[in-house]
Subunit: 166 residues, 2 copies
DNA sequence: TTAGGTGCAAATTCTTTGCACCCTG
DNA sequence: CAGGGTGCAAAGAATTTGCACCTAA
């Protein structure tokens, strides 16, 4: 498993180098580290989280560089964002076709793959709205951990999707 | 068409009244107007947009009331949010099962229905991650308008998903 | 060498909160 | 009439920007 993850990350990193070179981007330490961090996690972190992780190895990076770098990667098509728009951003370096499970309570997001779901057909009515670049399934529910917590603290009102401030 | 939209909105509004009453919420003008505004649009607006719309009829509302009301409605299950988490919020009063098309360029989001997609099966591997409350399809692409613009202004670099500041 | 990239700090933008008054139930 | 709800103004977060220095190519 570890082996295949390393391979996958190497492949992603290589792709990054190629695309960056073609675009005339400089391969700075910061960019490499930020991309490496994102490519190596399944967590779909936000900028702040990536910042903290990269800061370990590179104590002088700044948060704004992380932001700038992530958006640069995004504009190059090297990472995607979760959520429909620019705001509320969490990043994803997984460019393989995949789907998402997200917990409505704690915000956890996990990728999953499914050959069956990959094959889903987009209705013609949608094609009339615009061109289709991608179609994936979003599953919402309670993750295993939150199910357990919920059972413990049985509050009648929903704890609300909000809750978790940083 | 107009007729059926009115009916739909009346039904939503009635549902709101019922749920609010049961929860012991007061039915203030502000809440009614804010909900009505959301129930009557297909646009999945953010708080600011709703605020501006409601302000027309009710010049004294404040933006913070809009925020508070939307989250209250959300906690009661009367509206859902687009995007996986609390951040980056756009709201939706459509509780019927539906899917989304969103434009990667301008951020437009449209609902669509599909009996076929409603029936999609969530893999067992996902059920192991947690309980499944909902599964829907997110389609990303370029909307008709942006396709046209793109063709006109043929810039080689992507205009980026960002772009539109308020 | 040199243009693009970075860190820093300040500026913006977005959202939430404290408090006194108001209005629904 | 009472307690939740609202508006206002101010606080807090999150994200972006201007600028001088730095470094990959």
């Amino acid at each position: 498993m570890r082996k295949s993850e390393d391979t996958r990350n190497d492949r992603r990193l290589e792709h990054f180098r190629t695309v960056a070179r073609e675009a005339g981007l400089k391969l700075t330490h910061q960019r490499l580290e930020i991309f490496r961090e994102l490519a190596g996690t399944e967590e779909h972190p936000d900028a702040e989280t990536i910042f903290r992780a990269v800061q370990q190895r590179m104590p002088t990076v700044s948060l704004d560089t992380v932001y700038r770098t992530l958006w640069t990667l995004h504009d190059l098509g090297l990472v995607t964002t979760l959520g429909p728009r620019r705001e509320g951003v969490r990043f994803d370096a997984n460019l393989d076709r995949h789907h998402h499970f997200s917990c409505v309570r704690c915000g956890l997001v996990r990728d999953f793959e499914s050959a069956e779901l990959d094959g889903l057909r987009v209705p013609d009515s949608v094609r009339r709205l615009g061109s289709v670049a991608d179609a994936h399934v979003e599953v919402r529910g309670l993750c295993a951990t939150c199910q357990r917590d919920r059972r413990t603290s049985r509050d009648p009102k929903p704890p609300a999707t909000r809750g978790e401030r940083r």
